[in-house]
């Protein structure tokens, strides 16, 4: 793989440049380094950076531009020319830096400015990622809406994609499944997580806390694929055999209830650790005041601590909801693939994320609405979760300021 070897060569040249630059600076003052403006290492670094940075940037640009200008079968002579240009740039950089290496040269200032520039560049990657996400979603979504009317997408109640044409691609059944599963998940996670957090922060001894808190956090560290398998192999059949069939409500192992319960289990640590932080942030003086008036601890919690922590807890629940809406593996394996709007929680339904996976896995034809709809679904998902997050963070921040 030539670009990789070019990179190795450039890095080798940079190491050589470091040695040369450092040596040149030291020799220029015949060993008395106190006469240099900067410490000798900086002269070395200066040469190394000027050797490697421009040439590596050029190399990266070339590699990225390769499919745009040359395609897969770019002529080897071109590749050779490109490699030559990159190496010449590296050597030119080294030569330029070496000629500038004089005792009065402010090497440290230059090196520090370059490093600072690289730090800023790295921190811009976060912005670039967001921009990349938004661009890729919006761009392909626009392509989709050119092929399929947006009214039918946002207000359609049928989801019957067929690659032969004549698909109905309404988002409402998917949205219904997503919200239904999320609500069940929150009904499991919020009471359990909240009570666990209350018990741990208000009642538990230090020893119990030191055991229980990490154990609950283990739940958060388990990958979602494990929960997915658990839903598919264990929880789904259990619910079918013990709840759905005896009550005559369904025969499907994958159901809204299965996915909701398992997802709720996954969200418990999320709710409990966030609520724990928020409850701990309520000042002790409020509790002391309430206890001094003769309230029992539970009355203090219900009537003083929880109302004070309420905005934060609402924020935590919203964050958990955004997690639930964006969760993929549990619903792919636990909820089924049937797009329908039904109030029965023991029936298989499907979600936005399941359909994104379904439409984009395998071979894709990026000119058909059946593939492109995944991007419109992704955009909807992104907007919903982003909105929830921004709102939740706003609530949490606003609340925190009250006491700090």
């Amino acid at each position: 793989m030539p670009p990789f070897w070019i990179m190795i060569v450039i890095l080798g040249a940079a190491v050589l440049g470091y040695a040369l630059g450092r040596g040149r600076a030291v020799r220029a003052v015949s060993g008395n380094t106190r006469l240099l403006h900067s410490r000798p290492n900086y002269y070395g670094w200066n040469v190394a950076l000027l050797t490697a940075v421009p040439s590596l940037a050029l190399l990266l640009a070339g590699v990225l531009a390769q499919p745009v200008i040359g395609g897969e079968d770019r002529a080897p002579s071109n590749g050779g020319v490109f490699a030559g240009v990159v190496l010449v740039v590296a050597l030119a950089g080294m030569a330029l830096a070496l000629t500038r290496t004089t005792p009065a040269f402010r090497a440290r200032n230059v090196v520090e400015r370059v490093i600072r520039g690289m730090l800023i560049l790295c921190s811009l990657i976060a912005i670039a990622t967001t921009v990349g996400i938004v661009l890729s979603l919006v761009f392909e979504s626009l392509n989709f809406f050119r092929l399929y009317p947006w009214q039918d997408f946002f207000f359609g109640t049928e989801w019957t994609p067929s690659f032969g044409g004549g698909s109905e691609l309404g988002i409402l059944p998917l949205l219904w499944g997503t919200l239904y599963i999320s609500v069940i998940a929150l009904l499991v996670a919020v009471p359990v997580g909240l009570f666990a957090a209350i018990y741990m922060s208000e009642y538990a001894s230090k020893r119990v806390r030191s055991i229980v808190k990490p154990a609950i956090e283990v739940l958060a560290g388990i990958p979602t694929i494990v929960y997915g398998l658990f839903a598919l192999v264990t929880v789904g059949p259990l619910i079918r055999d013990w709840l759905a069939q005896p009550m005559g409500l369904g025969n499907s192992a994958s159901s809204v209830m299965t996915a909701g319960l398992v997802m709720g289990m996954m969200l418990i640590p999320f709710v409990s650790s966030l609520s724990d932080d928020i409850i701990n942030a309520v000042p002790q003086s409020l509790r002391d005041g309430s206890l001094a008036l003769g309230s029992t601890p539970s009355e203090t919690i219900r009537q003083v601590v929880l109302p004070a922590a309420l905005p934060g807890i609402v924020g935590a629940v919203l964050l958990a909801a955004s997690r639930a809406i964006g969760e993929t593996m549990i619903v792919v394996m636990g909820a089924g693939a049937m797009a329908r709007i039904s109030p029965n929680p023991f029936e298989a339904m499907t979600t936005i994320t399941v359909k994104i996976v379904g439409q984009l896995t395998g071979d894709n034809d990026f000119a058909s609405p059946e593939t492109l709809v995944a991007f419109a679904l992704g955009l909807t998902l992104f907007v919903i979760t982003l909105g929830l997050n921004v709102f939740a963070l706003y609530i949490v921040r606003k609340y925190r300021e009250q006491y700090e």
């Binding site: 967001t130 739940l219 694929i225 598919l232 192999v233 993929t328 593996m329």
Partner: protein, 454 residues
């Protein structure tokens, strides 16, 4: 205060309807105490529910998956008939290669039939299908490769462990019983009895299955030979990319934001961006990978390099948040002292602050890596679900070869029809969890060993 208390019955000694004493508990206090107890019980119940759910989850995974690490092999003498594998009789590997894998089934079947006859094992209703289906489809392929690699084996009797079929294997793992064998089209009661007879005479043994960890994935009909090798290598490559890219970029970003950034619009935008990226659903990163890295840049599908890049972008916020916390934990006095003796700000950060924050940074990085290791959804969109049976080559070229990933392999196996694959999926999860446990223990060790309290 007087307003509030005036409503309450004022205890007048000896005159009230019910004498009040601290020593006798009245009904209201009893009710309040009961409520207190109930409230406490809810808390304990919630914690118990969470713990039970965790225990049940881990229990079922271990119960279903541990058997994947063991596999049943038959050890009976195999006669490599020259008439089957080398019909021309000239021992020329090129000629012998024309003999297809299915022909080797004859050898396995005949050897088993001979063995039954010579050892006098009596099994009722045993037919040719039972004998032919006794061994894995992989066994005949392995034997063909062994013979082609060493033509001198032709005509000899070899004694090597031979992989049995998943149904025979299931008989020793409780998956296949004598009753279920009668209903199963792929096995029979006679095959069950034969397996038990061979096990009694010690010719059928279940032993640790290294192939499960090192082998490649296999087709739908051979669950007994499916392994995790390609998935483990794929995951390892991706972790390598995440480590090489996310750690420096994350640390650089954190250093800039914590130590140098002025308070301005740009810094605000970066900060908001990072906290939002941390909450973007992982599948959206998969869409980004598909649209940007595969469609625009033109990187190959199913390649670890694309997976690594996507996971890098996903892991960055985690690493940045952990690194910033670690940098913030270094007390300002360290910075003041360094600046005081004439160090530049850059020198202060790189010579003093960063080394002191390193344990925290590494802990955060390892936890971020563990998260990335378990991530499935984005990898499915960039084609890592593909069926890959060849190992990727060594990096850097191997980063562009098709590979699988541990969590995606789990998903892949759950989509197969044969129930033997569910055992494999649970086994793969045990491997995944073992890796994650090891990483988390390393993180805890680093924190315990190097953490400093100021």
């Amino acid at each position: 205060m007087t307003d509030a208390t005036s409503n309450l019955p004022r205890p007048v000694p000896g005159a009230g309807p019910q004498p009040k004493s601290l020593l006798t508990v009245d009904a209201r206090t009893r009710r309040r105490n009961a409520a207190e107890k109930r409230f406490r019980a809810y808390g304990i119940l919630a914690i118990a529910a969470a713990m039970l759910a965790l225990a049940f989850l881990l229990f079922t995974i271990l119960r279903d998956g541990s058997s994947a690490f063991f596999q049943t092999y038959a050890r009976i003498p195999m006669t490599i008939e020259a008439s089957v594998v080398d019909p021309k009789g000239n021992r020329d590997p090129a000629e012998m290669a024309k003999t297809l894998t299915t022909s080797y089934n004859r050898i396995l079947q005949d050897s088993l039939a001979d063995f039954i006859k010579t050892n006098g094992i009596a099994v009722e209703g045993l037919d040719d299908d039972d004998l032919a289906g006794f061994f894995s489809g992989q066994a005949r392929a392995d034997m063909r490769w062994a013979v082609l690699a060493d033509p001198s084996l032709v005509g000899q009797v070899i004694d090597v462990p031979v992989l049995t079929s998943s149904r025979v294997d299931g008989m020793f793992k409780g998956r296949v019983t004598r009753e279920s064998a009668a209903l199963d089209g792929k096995t029979s009661v006679a095959q069950f009895d034969l397996a038990m007879a061979l096990a009694d005479s010690g010719h059928l043994k279940t032993r640790f299955n290294w192939d499960f960890i090192t082998g490649t994935d296999s087709s739908d009909t051979r669950p007994e030979s499916a392994g995790l090798g390609v998935a483990i290598i794929g995951s390892a490559y991706m972790m390598l990319i995440v480590l090489v890219l996310a750690l420096p970029i994350g640390v650089a970003t954190s250093i800039y934001l914590e130590e140098f950034a002025p308070k301005n619009r740009l810094t605000d935008i970066i900060e908001v961006n990072i906290s939002n990226l941390a909450a973007v659903p992982s599948i959206v990163f998969g869409i980004l990978g598909l649209a940007a890295f595969i469609n625009v840049v033109g990187l190959p599908r199913s390649a670890p390099v694309v997976g690594g890049l996507v996971l890098t972008l996903m892991t960055l916020p985690t690493i940045i948040i952990a690194t910033r916390a670690a940098l913030r934990a270094v007390p300002p006095s360290i910075r003041d002292a360094a600046l005081g003796v004439g160090a530049s700000r850059m020198q202060t950060v790189f010579h003093h602050v960063l080394p002191l924050a390193m344990p925290g940074i590494l802990t955060g990085t390892i936890i971020g890596l563990a998260q990335a290791l378990g991530e499935t959804a984005p990898l499915m969109l960039i084609g890592m679900v593909a069926f890959v049976t060849t190992y990727p080559s060594a990096p850097p070229q191997g980063l562009f070869d098709p590979a699988s990933a541990l969590p995606v392999q789990v998903f892949n196996w759950t989509q197969r029809a044969d129930p033997a694959f569910f055992e494999r999926a649970s086994g793969a999860i045990i491997v995944l969890l073992a890796f994650m446990l090891a990483m988390n223990l390393l993180a805890i060790f680093l924190r315990r060993r190097f953490e400093r309290r100021w």
